[in-house]
C-alpha cells in the first residue's frame, strides 16, 4: 500500500492520466447508466497498464524484458490491427499486484523501449476486444490522421477521417 499522504510536495507520477477521467465523463454524458464503481475507484487497485507509442515491430519478448523489471507479469496482450492481426503499437501489461503497476508508472513510463519513448497509463483491466485498434483502417486512431512520417508506426497516417472516437 502506498504511504498515506494527503498531497505530496511534488506531483506523483503514479496517478492515472486524464484519459480515465475523460472516459468516465464521456460515458456519463452518453447515458445515465449507473457507472459504479466509477473508473477512478476501479483504478484504485488496478494491476493492468495500457502501454502506448510502441513501434509496430516491438515484440512481446522485448516488452516482457523491460516491464518485468517492475514485477512479475501475469499477462501481456499485444494490441493488434483489427484486420491484419499484426501489432499496431500498443499493449496491455498485467501485473500480479497494484504496487507493481504503480511502480511501472513511476519508473518505466516515459522511458524508452526499442528507442521510442513509451507511455503508460493505469487501466481498469483488459477485456476481450480491447486488443484491437479502433481506427477506421484497423490500427489505432492516432495513426489514421498523423501527418508526420513515423517509420516505426507504418509511415504516414493511413487516413484522415475524423469522427471516430479514440479509445487509446
Amino acid at each position: 500500500m502506498a504511504p498515506i499522504r494527503t498531497q505530496s510536495t511534488v506531483e506523483r507520477l503514479d496517478r492515472p492520466s486524464t484519459y480515465a477521467s475523460s472516459k468516465k465523463r464521456r460515458r456519463n454524458n452518453r447515458d445515465d447508466r449507473d457507472w459504479s464503481p466509477d473508473v477512478e475507484d476501479k483504478l484504485k487497485d488496478a494491476t493492468t497498464l495500457y502501454v502506448g507509442n510502441l513501434s509496430f515491430y516491438t515484440t512481446e519478448e522485448q516488452i516482457h524484458e523491460l516491464f518485468s523489471k517492475c514485477g512479475e507479469i501475469k499477462r501481456l496482450v499485444m494490441g493488434l490491427d483489427r484486420f491484419q492481426k499484426t501489432p499496431c503499437g500498443f499493449c496491455f501489461v498485467e501485473y500480479y499486484t497494484h504496487q507493481d503497476a504503480l511502480d511501472c508508472m513511476k519508473y518505466i513510463g516515459g522511458t524508452k523501449l526499442d528507442e521510442r519513448i513509451i507511455r503508460t497509463d493505469l487501466d481498469e483491466g483488459f477485456a476481450e476486444g480491447r486488443q484491437y485498434g479502433r481506427g477506421k483502417s484497423g490500427g489505432q486512431v492516432r495513426d489514421e490522421y498523423r501527418s508526420e512520417y513515423d517509420p516505426g508506426r507504418g509511415g504516414y497516417g493511413r487516413a484522415h477521417d475524423a469522427g471516430i472516437e479514440e479509445d487509446y
Partner: protein, 845 residues
Amino acid sequence: MADVDVKQDGGDYKRRGRNNNRKRVYEDDDDDRDHYDRRGPPTQRRRHERSPRHRYEEPPRAKLRRLILNVASSAKLPEDEAAEIAAYLGEKYDEPGLVDDFFQLFIQLIIEQPFRIPVVAAVAFYGNYIKPEMTVDAVQAVAVKAQEALTAGNWRDFKQLLRCLACLQSVFEGEGVFALLRQLFDTVVDLQTANETDVVGIELVKIILLTIPYALVAGGDAFHDQARDLLKDTHIVAENMIPIEGMIAAYAGDTGAKPFEYHSLIGLLQKQLDSEAESGFELACILRFRPEVLRKEDSEEELLSAPPTLAFPAFDIPKPVNPGSKGVFPEAFFSVYANQETETVPNTTEIAGSLIRDVLVDTIDQLDFNREAVAKFLIDIDNYWAVNTFAKRGTAVDKLRENASDKAMWKSEDMLVDAIFSQMLKLPTPEHKLVYYYSIITQACKVAPAAIAPSLGRAIRFVYKNIDVMDVELVYRFLDWFAQHLSNFEFRWRWAEWANDTGLSNLHPKKAFIVAVLDKEIRLSFAKRIRATLPDAYHPLIPTSLDKDVPDFKYDNDQTPFAAEGKLLWQQFRKKEPDEVIQATIDEIHKKAEQFGIEDVLVPSTDAFVTAICRIGSKSLSHALSCVERGKERLMNIANSSDAARRQIVASVVEFWKDQPGVAVNLVDKLLNYTILQPITVVQWALEDHMGAGEALTQGWVYEMVSNTVAKVAKRNYQITESRLQKNLSQQQLEMVENAMMIGRTSSHELFKFIEDAVRGVAEGANEQLMEKQANGSLTEEEVLHLRAWAQRWYTTFERMAQVEKSVIGEEAIETKLKFMAAQPEPESHFEDVGNGMADGDGQV
C-alpha cells in the same frame, strides 16, 4: 510538476557569489508578482496587467505553500528566504486554518525533501524572534511526528524529523537534543547487551551520529563537550563489526586487487566525527542561519531582543524498540570516486562526504514517486549546502585538478552519481526496485547531459575496471542497468575502449561481462541493431544465427537422432492432434531408444516434445505459453516420473533458445509458475548438468536463472511468514501456516545447500570436470583460476542470500517478531477503519 517548477534562471549554475542584497527580504511583493505572472491563470494575469490597482493578491495559504516549497531554490540567500517566510507567516498567523496547513506542509517537506531540512528549520528559528508561538507550534508538530516514527520503527522519517529539531538546538533550554541523543544511546546499550548481533542499535547509532553535526552547527561551541562525550560512547558500537557485515561488501575475495576495503557506514561516520572533534567541529558544509538577517535596513541600530527558549519535547522510546517493518541491515559505504587521485568527492575521512551522501540518498529514496523531481533536486544539490562546498556545476575533472588549491571543491555531479550507484549497488537489497535507480540516472542525463554524462562515464569505467572482484549479484545488477541505460541513449558507448578485451577467454570476468551486456542489449532491441552500434571486434560475439526470425529446429536435420519422430511430433502437436496420436509417436521414440540402449527413454521423448513446444511457441511468448498450457498435463507427468526427464525439460528449452538465453530464462520461470518444474530441478540442471568445469558460473543468464529461482522461493516464503504474523489466527490456520513455513524452510535450505555444494566444488578445485580439463590442458592455468574465483564469488553471494532469507523466515526471527507483537497493546478497532478510509482518499487525490 508545478510545485517544483521553480525559478530557473539557466544560470542557476551560479547561485554562489550573487550579491548579497539583504534589502530584498521585505521587498518581496514585486518578486511575488513576478512569480505569479508565470504561474497564475492567464485570465487573472491579463486582468491584472490592465488595471494594476486591482491586482490579484495571492491567497496567503497558496503564497506560503509556494514560498516554502521553493525555499533555497532561487537566487536569494536561503537565510533571507527563511526569514521572509517566517515574517510572512507571522503576519498571517491568525488566519483560520492557515497554521495547520502550513505545519502539515512543513512536516511533509522534512520527510519528502530532506535536503531542505536546515532551511525549513530556519523558518521556525526566525519565527522565534518574530512570533515565538510559531516556533512552539513547529516544534510541537515535528515532535509529534517524530514520536510516531520512533514508535513505528520508521527510522528514516525519525532521523529526518530529529534533524529538524537538531537544527533548532539554539532555541531549546539546557541540553536540547543532546538529552534525547543520550537517551537513544542508552537504548542502544540495552539492545546490544540483550543481543550482540543486534542491528537496530546500529541504525540508532547512525541516527545519533548524523544528528550531532546539525545540532552543533545550530547550538554552537557550548555543546562541543556534549558531542565529544557522546562520541566516546558510540565508539564501541560504531567500530564493532557483526558477522553479517562480512557478507555485504561490494568486493569479494582476499585478493589485494580490491579497489576499496570494506567500511561500514557508521564506522566511517565515527572516524570522521572524531577527527572533526579534534579540529573543533568546523562542519563547514552545513548551511548557517544568522539572526542578524532579521534586522531591517532602516533600523540597523536596533538590537534584536533575545527570543524565548523552550523546553525540548519529551520522547518516549518504546520498549522493546520496534525494529520497523523493513528488515534493518548494517550498511556498507560504497563509492566509485572516493579516495582517488583527484578529489572530486570528499575523501572518506571527511564528514561532508557522509552528510551530503545521507541527504542525497534520503532524497532518492523518499521521492521515488517522481523521478523527474528527484533528478532535478539532485542536480540542484549544491544550492542546499554552504557556499564553496562544491565547484561550479559541470566543472571538468582536469579543470578541478588545475584549480585544486588549499580547499577541495567537490563535483556535485560525481556526488549524485555516487549516491545513486551506492543505492543501486547496495547489499543485501536496495530500498526500491532497481529500475527506479535506472530511471533517475536516465532522467539526470536528460536534464543535464553535458554535466552528468562525463561523471557517469567515469563511474562505468571504474566499475568495469574492478568487475573481476565485484560481488556477483552486483555485477549482474550493474550489467542489467548498463544495458537498459544504453537502450535509452541510442546504445551509445565508447566500445572501442574495451575492444581489446574481446580477445580474452570467455571465462575472464571482463569478457563475460561484455557478452552478458550485449545479450541484454539484444533482448531490449534486436541483434542487427546492436551489431551496428559496435566496432568490428565485437561482431563475432553476435552470431548471425540471431538474425533469423526463429531458431533452428534440430529435427529438421536428418542427422539428429529421432529426427523423423521429432518432426512428426511437432506436426501433430501443431495440428492439435488427440493425445493418443501424440502418445503413439512418443511410444515410438521409447521403442527406438530402448534399442539404442538409452537408459531413460523418457529423456529423448521429452526432448522431442519440449523442443516441439518451443518450435511452435517461437512465434511469440504468448504462443509459447499457450503451447505450454496445452502440453501441461503431459509435462507434469514427465516431471513427476523421472529426474533425468524433468531436467531434460530445462535442457531442451535452453538448447532451443541457446542464442537467445533471455527467452529460455523467461520460459523456465513460467514453467516454475505452472509448477511443471520445481525450483530444485532448475538449480540442479544449471549447476550440475550444465556446470561443466564451472563455465556455467561465468554466464550471466545462468546467474539470472538461478537467482530468479531462489528469489521466487524466497518470495513465497516471505508471504507465508507474513501470514504467520497476522493477528488472531485460529488454531487450524496456525497449524497450516506453521506447516507451510516448515516446508518452505526445508526447500529453501535444500536449494541453498545444493548451490553452495556445487560452487564449492569448483572453488576448491575439486570439481571432476575441472580437474580433468586442467589435467588434459583444455583449460589453461589462468582459466582454472578464473573459474575458481568465479565459484568463490558465487559462494559468497548465495551464502548471503541464504543468511538474509534466514533473517526473515528463520525460527529465531519469527520468534522475535511474535514476541514483539505480543508486547504491543491491542489497537482499538476504529484504528483500522481510519486507515482504510484514508487509503481510499489517497487514491483520489
